[in-house]
């Protein structure tokens, strides 16, 4: 078999494999897009229509009228924003401390906290918030999201700080810096890429979170994923508006992920190979 032909077949084979792996996720999104643009009648049609004759733009407009959508968007923004901010303020120094002190046991404890199902904290924390009278506010959700965001930040920062060369900090020590000065002026600026990754992953996991919101949110304080769920009514499932709402909720995080994918991969694989 000649080499150019071989190369072409290899490339084709690769393309087929990629297509097979990616298509479930991709097709799902394409179908959702299609659903969101169809009128009710077209939904049940057989054979299924992918691109309808008439686009049902009103599916999108109904989301924004009368459904307090902007309120829920604002709630999501506050909860995710606050949870991520607190996580960075606490998690970055924590990651630094654990990495420098080689406190592997602490790292394991945090890993266990990360892996424990959120539901196990939910009931005790719910009772606590009720007792503290916080239930009508966004605070319960912010606090419980910390359970998700803080371990992510700490884990990524541990990995990142472990790859920062010690020599730079030793040079700073000899130059006369105290521990805090070394952290603030040397370690932190160098760890900026890691902080960006931690920020992005924290936002992604917090924004999409559904379970905590269902239990802890009231009508005014629910976040976007919960709001979408509530669009399912008992009489009929209006697929069009539902699909449209789901897409709109997913959009911010999707854009963020696509825009930052290189940083995410770099942050997750930092230190795996020397010089990386």
């Amino acid at each position: 078999m000649s080499r150019p032909l071989r190369k072409l077949l290899d490339k084709a084979g690769m393309a087929v494999c990629v297509l097979l792996l990616v298509s479930p996720a991709l097709l799902f999104f394409i179908w959702m897009l299609s659903l969101s643009l169809k009128f009710e009648i077209d939904n049940g049609a057989y054979p299924p229509i992918l691109i309808p004759d008439r686009f049902a733009w009103k599916n999108y407009t109904t989301i924004f009228e009368g459904n307090s959508f902007l309120l829920y968007f604002w709630n999501s923004l506050i909860v995710t924003g606050a949870a991520t901010l607190f996580a960075l303020l606490v998690g970055v120094p924590a990651g630094y401390g654990i990495a420098r002190m080689r406190a592997h046991k602490s790292a394991v404890v945090i890993m266990i906290a990360r892996m424990t199902p959120g539901l196990s904290f939910l009931i005790p924390l719910f009772l606590l918030f009720q007792w503290l009278g916080l239930l009508g506010t966004l605070w319960p959700q912010i606090i419980i999201h910390l359970v998700v965001t803080v371990p992510i930040v700490i884990w990524i920062m541990i990995g990142y700080f472990e790859t920062t060369p010690m020599e730079l900090e030793e040079a700073a020590m000899v130059d006369g810096a105290t521990r805090w000065q070394i952290f603030a002026k040397v370690a932190l600026p160098i760890a900026k890429p890691g902080i960006v990754v931690a920020f992005i992953l924290s936002v992604i996991f917090s924004w999409n979170n559904f379970v905590f919101g269902i239990v802890l949110a009231s009508r005014e304080t629910r976040t976007l994923p919960v709001a979408v769920y509530n669009m399912l009514s008992f009489e009929q499932v209006s697929w069009g508006p539902l699909a449209a709402a789901a897409l709109v909720v997913t959009l911010p995080v999707l854009i963020l992920t696509v825009a930052a994918q290189r940083q995410i991969v770099a942050g997750l694989t930092a230190g795996a190979v020397k010089g990386g």
Partner: protein, 360 residues
């Protein structure tokens, strides 16, 4: 400027003792080089002087003040690292002024000191750039500039030239030596390259396995090595070691050749086994000398290095061990396979005890 006193210093990592009781006295303004093979403890000792490693036993004093428990920032030292350790997110000027900015020094004073250091090292046009935009040699100069700006009591260098190519290394060696002559700051320098040690040091400390083998001026160590380790480590190509025994007024090698001792036979040692040491440049052609076959001829332009195998070498033993190196200033027409007769200069030969390695 200051003196550095290292007294009986020990260092252990758990049960493993890395440094086993080392004492060195460094005078104010001296350029002392710690040299030795990898793993001998020289970098660890330097880091203990800097305060980057704990001292397990003994004392280190800078300017007569014991610094064992003092953090690096209070010791008034500056260090140049093997990998430069420049702050990547700061410009060259900021890198060099970092220590001064930490102390809230006046801006005008900072600018003056940075300019002075930049002048000494030729860094003027680079001040606004970042480390990633510089070559290896330039980065190393910035690292030195960062140290000069501090005007410390002691400069510490940790194998600073190891990452540079050969030509640059030679150039930087001269620059460092010039810098020392100009600034006269006490310097402790670590390297595994004995040529660096020989060309730059006022005093060399040869270390091996956590102990000091010998301390002395470069030519002292070259002419009068205290033991076989120092004799074989200092000088390139390395000294030839020929085992055999002392007999009569000379030395008999294992292969039966006679080598002269020039009347310097140690007392009561007839028949005693010993090792005859002679540097490659101390051989000459002699009709009455040892017969040896030329194995390889390596002309380097300024001199010729030849590897020779003595004819009397016993079969069965490793050939490599029997080979001798001879360095001549002249070009020679000798070819591999030829037999030549050479003899060492008896006045420049050394005798060592084969068991302890110490000179006789």
């Amino acid at each position: 400027m200051a003196s550095v006193s290292i007294r009986n210093v020990r260092k252990s990592y758990g049960p493993v003792e890395i440094i086993k009781g080392v004492s060195i006295d460094i005078q104010d303004g001296e350029f002392v080089i710690l040299v030795g093979p990898s793993g001998c403890g020289k970098s660890t000792l330097l880091r203990m002087i800097a305060g980057l490693e704990e001292i397990s036993g003994g004392t280190i004093a800078i300017d007569d003040r014991i610094v064992n428990d003092m953090p690096p920032k209070d010791r008034d030292i500056a260090m140049v690292f093997q990998n430069y350790a420049l702050y990547p997110h700061m410009t060259i000027a900021d890198n060099m002024s970092f220590a001064l900015r930490l102390k809230n020094t006046a801006k005008s004073e900072i600018a003056a000191k940075v300019e002075r250091a930049a002048d000494i090292l030729g860094l003027g046009p680079l001040l606004g750039r970042f480390p990633r935009q510089l070559s290896g040699g330039q980065r190393q100069r910035v690292a030195m500039g960062r140290a000069i700006v501090r005007d410390p009591k002691v400069f510490l260098f940790d194998e600073p030239l190891s990452n540079l190519d050969a030509k640059l290394r030679v150039q930087m060696r001269t620059e460092i030596k010039e810098m020392h002559q100009r600034l006269k700051t006490t310097t402790v320098y670590v390297t595994h390259d004995q040529i660096e040690a020989m060309t730059m040091a006022d005093k060399i400390v040869v270390m091996h396995d956590g102990i000091i083998e010998q301390i002395g001026a470069p030519l002292d160590l070259y002419d009068n090595p205290a033991n076989m380790f120092v004799a074989g480590f200092i000088g390139s190509p390395a000294m030839n070691f020929i085992p055999g025994s002392i007999g009569g007024d000379g030395f008999t090698t294992e292969s039966g050749d006679r080598l002269p001792l020039g009347g310097r036979v140690p007392a009561a040692s007839d028949g005693r086994p010993a090792v005859y040491g002679v540097r490659p440049e101390h051989f000459r052609l002699a009709d009455e000398g040892m017969a040896a076959e030329v194995v390889v001829v390596e002309p380097t332009g300024s001199e010729t290095q030849m590897v020779l195998r003595p004819l009397g070498a016993k079969a069965g033993r490793e050939d490599r061990k029997r080979e001798l190196t001879w360095v001549l200033r002249e070009r020679t027409g000798a070819k591999p396979g030829e037999v030549v007769r050479i003899a060492p200069d008896p006045a420049l030969a050394h005798l060592f005890n084969p068991d302890t390695g110490l000179r006789l």
